[in-house]
C-alpha cells in the first residue's frame, strides 16, 4: 500500500478530528474493509467515493460504531476521536453517537411530530433544562438544516408527511440537535430529486463551519461540489485519499483515474 503516502499530502494546518489506523472489518468471513488509514479533518467535508459494494458505508458506520448492531460484523484496528480510541472497552457507543451523528441514505424520520423528531435526541441526552430551552434547540437545529421556514407553522405535523427532501433535512436537523462534532452522511441525496439535492448540498457546505462532515456518495459530481477532501475506496481498500481538486484532476493511482473517467463502475 505505497499509496498511503498520499494521505499525508495536502493536510494543512487544520486539526485532525478522527483518525483511523489499520482498520479491518469482517462480516463473518467476508473481509469488507482492508487496512484502511484515514485522517478526518475538523471543519471539513470529506467525501468517500467508490464503486458500489466497495465498503464506503461499512467504513462510515465504523466511525460511530453503528456496526456494533450487526451481529456478524467485527472491527479491528484503531479509530480515534480527538485522540480517544472509540473502540475502547470503556467507551459507551451511546455517548459516542451523540458526538458523531449520522444521516442515512433513506430519509427515516420518526413517525412523530416534526418537533418531537428534533427534540428526541436532546431529550434523551438531557441537553435542555425546560421547555423554553428545548424549543430553542429545536428552532436552531431546524434553521441550521435550512428547513425552519418550511415547517415553523406546523411543528406538530407528523415528520413522515413531509416531502423526501424535507424529510432528509429534518433528519439532518435531528442529527445536529444533539450537538455532534462529526456528522456522518451515507448517500444522503440518493433518494432525492435534483432540487432537494441542491438544497442539501448547500446545507452541507454551511454545516462545514461547525462540524466535520463525512459524506458517502456515488455521485462524483457531488463529491467534487461539496467536499474538500476525497477518499476513493475500491474492493475494501482505500486506494487514494487527498485534496478533492487533486483527486479529480490529477489522481496518482490508475484505478482512481479509471473510476473518475467512468471505466470502473
Amino acid at each position: 500500500m505505497n499509496d498511503m503516502r498520499m494521505t499525508e499530502r495536502g493536510v494543512d494546518s487544520k486539526n485532525i478530528k478522527m483518525k483511523a489506523r489499520k482498520v479491518q472489518v469482517f462480516y463473518g468471513t467476508n473481509h469488507a474493509i482492508k487496512d484502511v488509514d484515514v485522517d478526518i479533518e475538523d471543519k471539513t467535508v470529506t467525501a468517500f467515493i467508490g464503486p458500489s459494494g466497495c465498503g464506503k458505508s461499512t467504513f462510515l458506520r465504523c466511525l460511530n460504531r453503528m456496526n456494533d448492531t450487526i451481529d456478524i460484523c467485527r472491527v479491528e484496528g484503531e479509530i480515534t476521536l480527538d485522540g480517544e480510541d472509540i473502540y475502547d472497552r470503556k467507551v459507551d457507543p451511546v455517548q459516542l453517537r451523540a458526538k458523531v451523528g449520522m444521516v442515512f441514505q433513506k430519509p427515516n424520520p420518526f413517525p412523530k411530530s416534526i418537533y418531537d423528531n428534533v427534540a428526541y435526541g436532546p431529550r434523551i441526552h438531557g441537553l435542555a433544562r425546560g421547555k423554553a430551552e428545548l424549543d430553542e434547540i429545536v428552532e436552531k437545529s431546524l434553521r441550521r438544516a435550512a428547513i425552519w421556514n418550511e415547517v415553523k407553522d406546523r411543528l406538530d405535523a407528523p415528520g413522515t408527511g413531509l416531502s423526501g427532501g424535507q424529510q432528509q433535512r429534518l433528519c439532518i436537523a435531528r442529527a445536529i440537535a444533539t450537538g455532534p462534532e462529526v456528522l456522518l452522511m451515507d448517500e444522503p441525496c440518493s433518494a432525492l430529486d435534483p432540487i432537494a439535492t441542491a438544497q442539501v448540498e448547500e446545507l452541507i457546505d454551511e454545516l462545514r463551519e461547525r462540524f466535520s462532515v463525512v459524506i458517502v456518495t456515488h455521485s462524483m459530481q457531488q463529491a467534487a461540489r461539496v467536499s474538500q477532501k476525497t477518499a476513493f475506496f475500491h474492493l475494501g481498500n482505500l486506494v487514494e485519499y487527498g485534496e478533492t481538486s487533486k483527486i479529480f484532476t490529477n489522481p496518482d493511482d490508475p484505478r482512481t483515474e479509471s473510476y473518475i473517467t467512468g471505466r470502473i463502475g
Binding site: R97, P109, Y120
Partner: protein
C-alpha cells in the same frame, strides 16, 4: 388489412387457438371450485347461526306470572316483631304456601274455571319463586302484612308451552305437566296474568338445578370467564411482550434461541387439554391452589395464550422497519430506548390485536377447564377480585357443556342462548381487534 389476414389467417386474434381454449377452460373450472368452496363454507356458517339463533333466542325471553301476594304475618313472622334474624328461620318451604294460596285466590277472583288440585296449581309456579319472595321480604320486613304485586317465574314446562316446546299432546305423556295446567295457563295468558317478556336474569342470574331450567342464568359463568380473562390479560400480555422483545431485539442469534423459537411455535399447536393436565398437576396438586377457581383457569389459559401473543408480538416487532431503529440509535439512543420509544409504539396495534385474538381463543376454551374442576355447580357469585379469583366459579363454555348434559329439554334452549352470549363476546372482541388494526395501521 386484407393483406394481413390473408398472410396469417391461423393467427387471427378473433379465434382462440387450442392452447388458449384449454387454459381458459382450466381457469373457469378453478373459479367454479373456489366459488363452490366458499358457498359450502358460507352455508355451514349460516346453518350454524340459524340453528343456534332459532334454538337460543328464546332463552332471553321468559314466562312470568303476575299476582298480588298477601304476605300473611302468621306464616312469615310468627313472633310478629319484624326481626330479620328471626324471620330468617322461615325457609322457602314456609313461603311456598303463601305464594300458592295467593295464586289460587287470584285465579278464583278472576272467575276462571278449572279443576286443578292446589298442589297442581302450586306446581305451575317455578321452584325459584318462593326464594325470590323470601329474599324480598327479608330485605324489607315491613312488607309483612301487606299485599304486594309480584312477578314470579312459572315452571319450565309452562314456559315451554308458550315457547312451543310443550304441547297438549306432549303434556299427556309428561309426568311434570298436565293438559289441564296448560289450559289454565292459556286462560291466564289471555287475561294478561301470564306473559312472556325479556328476561335479563338469563344473563345475570346464577345457574339453577336441573329441575329449574327456567331460573338458570349465566351470571356466575360470565363473571368466572371475566375473571379468567383478567388473569390471562394481566399475566400473558407483559410476559409475552417482554419475552418477544427480548427474543426479537436483544437475544443473540444462536442454537439456544433457535431452539426456544421452534418450541414456542410448537407450543402454540399443543392440544389445549394437555395444558389442562399440566395445570392440574402444577397449580392444583403441586401449588395447592383451589379447584374450580378462576385463578387456576386463568393460569392454565395464560399458558395457552402466551405462544399466540409471543408469535403475534414478534411478527409486529419484525414489521417495524429497521430504519426506525437505526434512526434512534443514530442520535444516541440506547437499544432499550430505541425499542421502548420507537419500536414498541409502532408495534403496539399488532400486539394488541394478537392479544385480543389470544384472549378470544382463551374465552372459548373448554377442555382444560374441565380438568381443573371448573365444571362444579356454582350458585354463589365469586367475590370481587383479587379474593374472588380464588372463589369457585364457572365459565361460559363450560356452562354450555354442562347444560347440554342435563336431561330437561328446556336446557337445550339455555345452552344455545349461552352460545349466543359467548359468540357476542367473541364478535365484540374480534371487532375491537379489527378496529385497532384499521385505526393504527402503518403510520410510518
Amino acid at each position: 388489412m386484407t393483406d394481413a389476414t390473408a398472410n396469417a389467417p391461423a393467427r387471427s386474434l378473433f379465434t382462440e387457438d387450442a392452447r388458449t381454449k384449454k387454459r381458459n377452460r382450466a381457469e373457469a373450472r378453478f373459479r367454479a371450485y373456489g366459488l363452490a368452496a366458499v358457498i359450502v363454507g358460507l352455508l355451514a356458517l349460516v346453518m350454524l347461526l340459524v340453528s343456534i339463533l332459532s334454538n337460543g333466542m328464546s332463552a332471553f325471553r321468559q314466562t312470568f306470572l303476575t299476582i298480588p301476594v298477601e304476605l300473611t304475618e302468621a306464616r312469615l313472622d310468627p313472633q310478629g316483631n319484624r326481626d330479620p334474624a328471626e324471620m330468617a328461620a322461615v325457609t322457602t318451604f314456609g313461603y311456598l304456601p303463601v305464594l300458592a294460596q295467593s295464586y289460587i285466590d287470584h285465579v278464583e277472583s278472576l272467575g276462571i274455571e278449572h279443576d286443578l288440585s292446589p298442589q297442581a296449581m302450586a306446581a305451575m309456579i317455578s321452584g325459584e319463586a318462593p326464594a325470590q319472595l323470601r329474599s324480598l321480604v327479608l330485605e324489607d320486613p315491613s312488607l309483612v302484612g301487606q299485599t304486594v304485586t309480584l312477578r314470579v317465574l312459572v315452571s319450565g314446562r309452562i314456559d315451554g308451552f308458550f315457547k312451543g316446546r310443550v304441547t297438549m299432546a306432549s303434556a299427556e305423556r309428561d309426568a311434570n305437566v298436565t293438559p289441564e295446567q296448560l289450559q289454565l295457563a292459556q286462560a291466564l295468558a289471555e287475561v294478561g296474568v301470564i306473559e312472556t317478556r325479556f328476561n335479563w336474569s338469563f344473563v345475570t342470574a346464577p345457574d339453577a338445578s336441573g329441575q329449574r331450567p327456567e331460573a338458570a342464568g349465566l351470571g356466575v359463568a360470565i363473571l368466572g370467564s371475566f375473571y379468567m380473562m383478567l388473569v390471562v390479560l394481566v399475566l400473558s400480555l407483559p410476559i409475552g411482550v417482554a419475552a418477544s422483545i427480548y427474543l426479537e431485539e436483544f437475544a443473540p442469534k444462536n442454537r439456544l434461541t433457535d431452539l426456544i423459537e421452534v418450541n414456542i411455535s410448537n407450543l402454540a399447536a399443543v392440544p389445549s387439554i394437555v395444558f389442562g393436565i399440566l395445570g392440574l398437576a402444577i397449580f392444583i396438586n403441586f401449588a395447592g391452589l383451589p379447584q374450580s377457581a378462576p385463578i387456576v383457569g386463568g393460569l392454565v389459559l395464560t399458558l395457552m395464550t402466551l405462544p399466540t401473543i409471543i408469535i403475534a408480538t414478534r411478527a409486529s416487532l419484525r414489521a417495524v422497519p429497521p430504519s426506525i431503529r437505526e434512526a434512534a440509535l443514530g442520535v444516541g439512543a440506547s437499544k432499550m430506548q430505541a425499542v421502548f420509544h420507537h419500536v414498541l409504539p409502532l408495534a403496539a396495534p399488532g400486539i394488541l390485536t394478537g392479544t385480543i385474538i389470544g384472549l378470544a381463543q382463551a374465552l372459548g376454551e373448554t377442555a382444560p377447564l374441565l380438568l381443573i374442576g371448573m365444571v362444579a355447580f356454582v350458585r354463589d357469585y365469586p367475590a370481587a377480585p383479587p379474593e374472588g379469583l380464588f372463589d369457585p366459579a364457572s365459565a361460559l363454555p363450560v356452562q354450555v357443556y354442562q347444560w347440554t348434559q342435563r336431561s330437561d329439554p328446556a336446557f337445550v334452549e339455555r345452552a344455545s342462548g349461552a352460545i349466543i352470549v359467548l359468540l357476542v363476546f367473541l364478535i365484540v372482541m374480534n371487532a375491537i381487534a379489527v378496529l385497532l388494526r384499521r385505526r393504527f395501521e402503518r403510520r410510518w
